[in-house]
């Protein structure tokens, strides 16, 4: 169902894009260099994502411009995003790749944020999912449907990158399940968190889908880790459904329903869902700067749609991106809207929770 809807959306967007080409309203980029700004260092996940797309984008754009990925790291990506906000549209040779770490400070009213998503023009939204896992002996204590009641007395340690980052989603989820999870801050990437789990120092962890497939699946096969739940995926109506990459795993919603004391409605649930939607189904997006004309947006939209129509796309993207929707056109706009337009109550709840639980004050 989900796949079909998304495919239909992608097709529609491709059609829209094709029409604009037929009208001759397409910008020509031959002989130019498109600069793809990534507000992180060369070594992060966004770099991998952009490096995957850059050569494909170069082939797909009219005039086959050179596409180079440039890095402008700093202040958890807010520096690069602020710089992009200052740039106006010139000739379509500047694009920007944002990530969940750009979205969250924006949603949490971080004082460093001076950018505004609604000014920008989204041309691609790449989603991902996440999976929480446990050591086998703790996993064995789970009840039916992943019921966490038996684990509520356990002393959990979790290697975290920071409570205001994407880690907010699993931390809040575990708290809703009644678990006592102490985050150990200061790890540098989720890979380090997994290593801490492998060393037996952390006894709960989560990874994004592609890292779970490459890093944790071997542990599951070796019997040293057991998957618990996925965060799920969104269907076309915005409901949380099972993650297509992990159809056999219950979603957090199912686990929450199975666990006494965890509610799938109300303030806390709404806040969790809002931040999950902001962080995962549209985690990485590509933007043209403010003021980009329709034909430029259409040109890039069509190029990203064309990339996904390559015969080998499924094969080459599986290892790099996971089996997740790569949305363009109106689907991307819908995804961006749901990722950046979080209800004020949800923001207030999370800001308050962060300050009470972790002493994080965002002034």
């Amino acid at each position: 169902m989900l796949k079909k809807t998304l495919a239909a959306l992608a097709l529609t967007s491709a059609l829209v894009a094709t029409q604009s080409v037929a009208d001759g309203h397409q910008i020509d980029l031959s002989g130019k260099t498109v600069e793809w700004i990534i507000p992180f260092s060369e070594t992060g996940g966004s770099a991998k994502w952009a490096n995957f797309y850059a050569p494909l984008l170069s082939e797909a754009l009219p005039g086959n411009p050179t596409v180079v990925v440039t890095f402008n790291p700093g202040a958890g990506s807010t520096k690069g995003a602020n710089a992009f906000q200052e740039m106006g549209y010139e000739d379509g040779t500047t694009i920007f790749g944002s990530s969940g770490s750009t979205q969250f400070p924006y949603l949490l009213s971080d004082p460093r944020v001076r950018y505004e998503y609604s000014d920008w023009n989204v041309v691609l939204a790449s989603g991902t999912g996440g999976v929480a896992y446990l050591p086998p002996e703790l996993s064995a204590q789970l009840g039916d449907g992943g019921d966490a009641s038996a684990l509520q007395g356990e002393d959990f340690i979790y290697g975290s990158q920071g409570a205001t980052r994407l880690d907010l989603v699993p931390l809040l989820a575990w708290e809703m399940l009644g678990l006592q999870v102490e985050p150990v801050f200061g790890i540098e990437g989720r890979g380090d968190g997994r290593l801490m789990f492998e060393r037996g120092e952390a006894n709960i962890d989560y990874q994004t889908s592609s890292s779970f497939l490459s890093g944790v699946t071997p542990l599951v096969e070796a019997g040293t880790a057991a998957p618990w739940f996925s965060f799920g995926a969104l269907d076309a109506d915005g409901n949380i459904v099972r993650d297509p990459t992990f159809p056999d795993m219950p979603t957090f919603k199912e686990v929450c329903e199975a666990t006494e004391g965890c509610e799938t409605s109300g303030e806390q649930w709404d806040a969790w869902k809002a931040f999950f939607v902001a962080g995962f189904p549209a985690q990485k997006m590509v933007f043209l700067p403010a003021g980009a004309p329709d034909n430029a947006v259409a040109t890039f939209t069509e190029a990203f749609a064309a990339i996904q129509e390559r015969d080998d796309f499924a094969e080459i993207s599986r290892a790099r991106l996971g089996v997740y929707p790569q949305l363009t056109g109106s689907a991307a706009q819908t995804a961006m809207a749901s990722a950046t337009d979080v209800p004020q109550e949800a923001k207030d709840f999370v800001i308050n929770w962060l300050s009470e639980r972790y002493g994080v004050v965002l002034q």
Binding site: S41, E42, T43, G44, A47, K48, N51, F52, A54, P55, V68, V69, T70, N72, P73, G74, A75, K79, P111, R112, D155, I157, G162, T164, E182, V184, F185, G186, I187, G189, G191, D192, R194, L195, M196, E198, R199, G200, E201, S214, G215, T217, P218, L219, E315, I316, R318, A319, R320, Y358, G359, V360, V361
Partner: protein, 675 residues
Amino acid sequence: MEVFATAFPALSDAFAMILQPHVIGYLVLGVVMGLCIGVFPGLGGIAGLSLLLPFMFGMEPVTGLALMVGMVAVVPTSDTFASVLMGIPGSSASQATVLDGFPMAKKGQAARALSAAFASSLFGGLVGAAFLTVFILAARPIVLLFQTPELLMITIFGLSMVGILAGRVALKGLVAACLGILVGTIGEGASSGALRMSTYDMPYLVDGLKLVIVGLGIFAIPEIIALLRRDKAISDRAPLGGGWAEGVKDWWANKWLSVRCSLIGVVVGVIPGLGGSVVDWIAYGHTVQTAKDKSQFGSGDVRGVIGPESSNNAKEGGGLVPTLLFGIPGSGSMAIFISAVALLGTGSIEVGPSMLKNNLDFTYAIVWLLALANVVGTLICIAASGGIAKLTEIRFALLAPFLFMIIAFAAFQSRQEIWDLVALFGIGLLGILMRRFDWSRPAFLIGFVLAAPAERYTNQAYQIGASRFRRGFEDGIEYVFSPIVIVLIIITLLSVVIGLRQAKNIQAEGSVAAGSKRAPVVFLLAVTAYIALTYWNAAIIPDFARMDRVFPVFVATVALIGCALLLVQMMRADETSAIFADREAEEADDNVHGLWATLGWFASLLVASAVFGFILALAGFLLLFIRLRAGKSWGYAAIYTAVGIAFICAMAWTLNRDFPPGVLQSFVDLPWPLT
């Protein structure tokens, strides 16, 4: 036996993959590119690898690996040129090489130092590969034994090297190391995000200072300024005969030292989380501790080159273990390596826990490509070293502007802001003063490098340990005092005791005469004031972020006690005491130019960059410097400038980088490279 049954077929597969003409061809190409980039200080493997990334997509896996491994492998070899010839640590891998390599170059033994370094690098690389071939099969469970308390102890062991490098006045070394740590804590705390010595109004400081800037500032700038003031060539005497053959003989005479340091390199490189930035210091410390005659260390003992250089290439091999087996990059260049591997072929090679099971042949191919790249790289370097060593005979005033250009460009790669240059200049000033008053710069750098891991592991070990103790007292003790931790504690204690006993004999930066009392006291007071400020700044961090407060407060307290004791000693000691060491007195006869006049040149480059942008400012700087300071004709200066600008533009264009813009650029749109 079972191990060998799986290893041998994979190993022969690996060699069948490597030993094909086109694979070797790509390897050599990678090596040459790596050498070209590595020769320039501060531009390590990260720049080179990101240069290769666009070509990796869909490339045949073995050829792509050959290209990348060739490049990564030779960076720690080629950066030796800058360390030995100019006293500039080319990358974190060759910081310790500077200590003895550069004095050798000054004595006219540049070729000897270089070839000893290259022979050691080659040998270290081969030992690393051989060790890994066996070890990689058993590495996984061993690496997992290193939990947070073990990592903390290794960090502390690294810090204990300060004891050896502290210089004649141990207290000064201690305070220098604490100062380095405190500079390393600048910015957002890793634990709760509290700000230390920075505000959101100055976003540059929030992310902290980068190693490349601190390394270049603390070592390179003081040396360049000092050499410029003398206005001669780097080498102060005619080159000695023998050249490179003598260096190889030196290495052979110390082959067991080389073996030991190689093993240190592999083992420390294997442990994820430390990134190998301490390896060369530990190797240097080991070299000094095990040497009988220690009098020459710091003023050109060839063993001080052989030790660190043996370890730093072996470390690259060791660093493959966390990278390939756990998918956790040991360094920035390894992180790009991982993402590049995924681009190769159809993405069938998946770096991480499944690597050994599914791709053992590729794993071995990578290990031995690394070894082969070391051989090729070393041969090229030895062949080139005689020629490149002649740089030390050029009048330095002609070399310095060029060096400054490269260093400024390298520093700018850190954050691509004008503030990078300001930070370089500021740290450079501190470096100049520390050099002048004989405060150990190696100690400062070790402190800086280890500040982040020391704080992180302390906090994490404390948190996890507390959780274990809640579970049970025995659980906690077992976690905190594992056998590995106890062994490391013993080694550290021995190293500190031995180090302190010997420190007086080891002058890691040569001897320095004492001058007057006033200047050293003023400098000490300035350092004390900064540390007190840090203390106050950390102490006001509120309780909810206390994890970010404890560490800087503790270190600042130690440093303040050290400063107080130093002050007392200074009041008691008379003017000739080592505590008042002042290089101005030592070098007064040699210096043709004043410190401030020389420094003024570079300050003006900085200010002009802020106004006109880097390239315009650089053009003016090169032209005027060559004409006025070096005293060449306008024609000569114009050609020098043109060549310099063309060179830096070509480099930036290849690496796809911009230059720092100035105020001018915010008003006028200028074409690249002036933007």
